[in-house]
Structure formats: C-alpha cells, structure tokens
C-alpha cells in the first residue's frame, strides 16, 4: 500500500521537475530560434533558418570589443576572488575566532542585497573618491558581490576538512608552506575549482553591477540591454545565444576537468 503511494508521489515529483526544467530552458530556446531565423523580424513558426545574424554579430568590431571587455573583467575577477575567498573561507569555517559570527553575517550581506542598489551605491562612492567609472571599477563591483559567493563555495569544502590532517603533517615536521601545498590545497582543490568557475561565469553574465559601474566601457550583458530597449534587432538574440553557449561550454569543460582530476586523485590514492 505504502509503496504504491510512494511510487506515485515519486512519479509526480519527477514529472513536475521535468516540467519546470523545460520551462526554464524555453526562453533560452526562443532566443536561439530568433537568432537563427532569416530576416529582420522574428515570427513563429520560423520559415527560413540561416546563420546570417550569427555571421554579422561575429564580424562586428563593436562586439569584438565587448567580448574582450567581458573576458578581461571575468578573468581578473576570477583570479582575485579565488585569492580573497581562499582566506575568507578559512576564516569562515576553519578557525574558531571571536569575530567569526559577525564575519559570517557581514559576508552574507552583499549576497542578500539588491544588485541595482549596490551598483548605484558604488557609483556614488567612486564619485566621492573622484574615480571615474571604467572596466576597472566594474571589476571592484563584481568582486564585492562574487567574493562572498565564492567564499561560501570554498567554505563548504573547508567544513568537510579535518584539521587533524594539518596538525599531523606539522607534527611530522612539515613546514607550514609544505603542509599548505601537500595537505591543505589538495583537499580544498575541488572547492577552489568550483569557486573559480562560479566567479568567471557570474562575472560573465552580470548585468546590474556592470550597468552602473563600468562607465563608458561596455560588456556583453550591458550592450544587449541597450539594444533591447532601442527596438528589435536579431543581433540581440544571436549574441545572447553565443554568450549562453560560451557559458555552457565553460561549465561542461569545468565539470570534465573536475571529473578527470578526481579520477587521477583516486588512482594515485590506490597506487598508494
């Protein structure tokens, strides 16, 4: 009796989840369709498919600059946020220290904060400091929001870390640097790797912070928005799809490298 009820509940849960996943990807598919249809205007069903707008988007000098800006910002944000977050995660989860609760709360606040308001607040602050907004100030803005996220991602890994391992290494005479390299880092590596991937992708897709803090320098999401409000051009869905595919490829590649790293670690552990 109970098993029958459970099977039916499980079926309903699977069906509901499938439905929600399909709904999540529906607009992304609509964008892909619009970017791949021929002609200036989008109408469904699509009569003729063509890659003309992909070609035009790809060849546009304006867009090449956007891609450069987005990649540059995301790369710098990735490296810096992992460095910040590595130490942040240790303070968050590893050491029992007096200010830890307060630190945890302060760290979560930027995540629990409306990004458009954060962007405007940073704009005022940069203005008060006499710094004119550019891609560099956008990097700072991205860091304020992304470092806490990455810190949480790495902190989850630190929580599963047994400090006894570090103590054992130092009891056996290992220097602090040697312990860091041979014990701490290998254990935290999966968390650091996920954190870096998150940092890059979140910076790549960020719109509200870039809008206010990048000044005259544009990024892909910022440009898409400015074209969106100006009237329809198929370059918007074409570039949107290209940006989405880039993110998907990175996530897939990142996942693959993680699997390979884990397999190599398992192999090494088995060989002793």
């Amino acid at each position: 009796m109970q098993t029958v009820g459970r099977t039916r509940t499980h079926f309903l849960i699977r069906a509901w989840t499938t439905f929600v996943v399909l709904a999540i990807y529906l607009p992304i598919a609509c964008g892909a369709l619009a970017g791949l249809s021929k002609g200036r205007y989008f109408a469904f069903p699509v009569k003729v498919f063509s890659t003309e707008w992909w070609g035009k988007t790809w060849d546009s000098f304006e867009i090449q600059v956007l891609v450069q800006n987005s990649v540059l910002i995301a790369l710098i944000v990735t490296v810096l946020s992992v460095l910040f977050a590595f130490f942040g995660a240790l303070a968050f989860a590893r050491y029992p220290w007096k200010g830890r609760r307060a630190f945890q709360r302060l760290l979560l606040l930027p995540i629990f904060f409306p990004q458009p308001v954060l962007g405007l607040a940073l704009l005022l602050w940069f203005n008060a400091l006499g710094i004119s907004p550019s891609w560099k100030t956008a990097v700072v803005a991205h860091l304020v929001w992304i470092v806490p996220v990455v810190t949480l991602v790495i902190a989850i890994q630190v929580f599963s870390f047994d400090p006894v391992l570090e103590e054992a290494a130092s009891d056996l005479g290992a220097s602090r640097l040697f312990t860091l390299r041979t014990v701490t880092l290998p254990i935290l590596w999966p968390g650091i790797w996920s954190g870096a991937l998150f940092a890059f992708l979140l910076s790549w897709g960020n719109f509200p912070l870039s809008l206010y803090t990048a000044g005259a320098d544009s990024t892909i999401p910022k440009w898409l928005y400015s074209k969106m409000v100006a009237g329809y051009t198929p370059m918007v869905p074409a570039l949107g799809t290209m940006s989405t595919l880039t993110a998907a490829a990175l996530l897939l590649g990142g996942g693959l490298i993680r699997v390979l790293l884990r397999r190599r670690a398992d192999l090494r552990a088995r060989e002793g």
């Binding site: 509901w16 629990f112 602050w125």
Partner: protein
Amino acid sequence: MADASLSAPGPKLSPGLRASLPVLLLLIAGFLAPLLTVAAYAFATPKSFEVFRSFTLENLSAIFDPNNTVWTSFVWSLALAFACVAILLVICYPIAFGLNKVFGKWSGLVSVLFVFPLFVSENVRLYGWVLFFIKNGVLDGALKWFGFSGGPELLYTPGITLFGMVYVYLPFMLFPMTLGIAMIPKDLVDAASDLGAGRLMIWREIELPLAMPGILIGALLTFVLAAGAVAEAKILGGQSVITITQDIEVAFTYAQNWPMGSALALILVLIVSGLALSAMARLDLDKILGKR
C-alpha cells in the same frame, strides 16, 4: 598557511582574524563605505551634490509626504516580492525533496540544470520570454498555426512581471531549500514511521521543522532580491508596474536628483537588511553549510 604568510612582527592577531582580513577590507571599502555614502547623500540638499556639507531631512519628508505617490512603488515592490516568495515555496518544495530523496545519482545533473541559468545574463532570459509571449512570437504563432485565433495578451502586465521574478529567482529558493531538506536524518523519519506516524504527521512534526532553516534562507533571499528587482518590470512588464528600484534609478539618471535617489535607496536598504539580519541571527550557518 595564513599563519606563515602574515607572521610579521607586531601585535598578534588570531589566525581567524588574519585570514579574514583581505575579505574584511574588501567589504569595508566596497560594501560598507558605499552604503555610508548613500546615507550621506540621503541627508544632502535635494538636487545638489553637496554631500557632507549640508544636512537636511527634506528628502525623507518629501517621501513621506501624503501627496507623493512614491509609496505605491514600495507597495508594488514589496507585494510582488511577497507573492514571488509564496509561489516559489510551492514550486520548489517538491523539486528540493526530489533532489534529496528521489533522483538518486541523477541529482547532480538536475542541480546543474538549475544552476546553469544563473550564468546567463538575466536580461537575455527575460528577453526570451518576450519572444515567447509577443504577437507573432512562439506562443501566438504556434496557436495560430494550430488554427486558433492567436495567443492571449499577457505581456506588459503586472502578472507577467511577477512571472518573470518567479522565473529569475527560482534557483535562489531551490538551493537553500535543498540544503535544508538534506538536514533531515533518515533514521528519524524511519523511527517515526515505525512508531506509526502517518506521512502527513511525519512531514509536519519532523521534516518541516528540521528543514526550516534552509527554507527560511531561501525565502529571505528571494524576498530581498525580488524587492530589489528592476529588469522584470522593465523588459516583461513594460513598466505597467513601477518598482521602487525603478524610481531610484530614475532619480539618479533622468531627474539628476542624487539625494532623493539615495533617500529612497536608504529606506529600501533598511527594510531589506533589517529582514536579512534578523533572520540570520536565528540561523546556525555552520550547521546548514557544514551539515554537522
């Protein structure tokens, strides 16, 4: 590690404080200082840039003036955020339960499917919905193709704004909720079941209270983010609803009234961070994130 790199002579700091320093400095210079700047501007003379040189309550009294209609934006934003949370609780609970108890080895893949949209710029995804709902778009075109007279006019209404918020903030509800449900020990549920508790009773007396911290974080996160949302109302809602973030933006850009914009932002920040801090004070983060 942190001890080695920073063991310079000087006053001795605890290892935790030393490790926290880089992030602490970033958040002081990049988060707290900007918020103080907003507060300073909120008390400056309207339509001026004389920050720190003048102090006036004019901006705040203008907002609370009954003749000013800005309160409708606050009401809209908070009401939409509230509705968004309520809808997401219902949508996400079965999925979060499934991720823990039903999908088994597929959970990882399903999680990635829900994480991925976070990395696609939200305006791109919202624009996809515009292409879906617009005249001659995917819905309208498909219905006509099947011989119907065309799709309903859904775009540019408050309802579609709410729909957009539910869509964009879904992962922010789902993942904390999933962490929360992961905190329910299986033994406890089994024990209750052996003692003869019914499914509904187990859910109400055991599962729900134990999963509550995660659910609360999800609800809080989505409420705060939805209260600060702007793109949904602009792109999908066609400004049929003016959100508070929209008013703030207009004050900063077209109106060139930074002090007024700051005063509005300050009120929103007070509401939002008051909620966030009071909820966080009740939560044990170590337990939720460390599953200990």
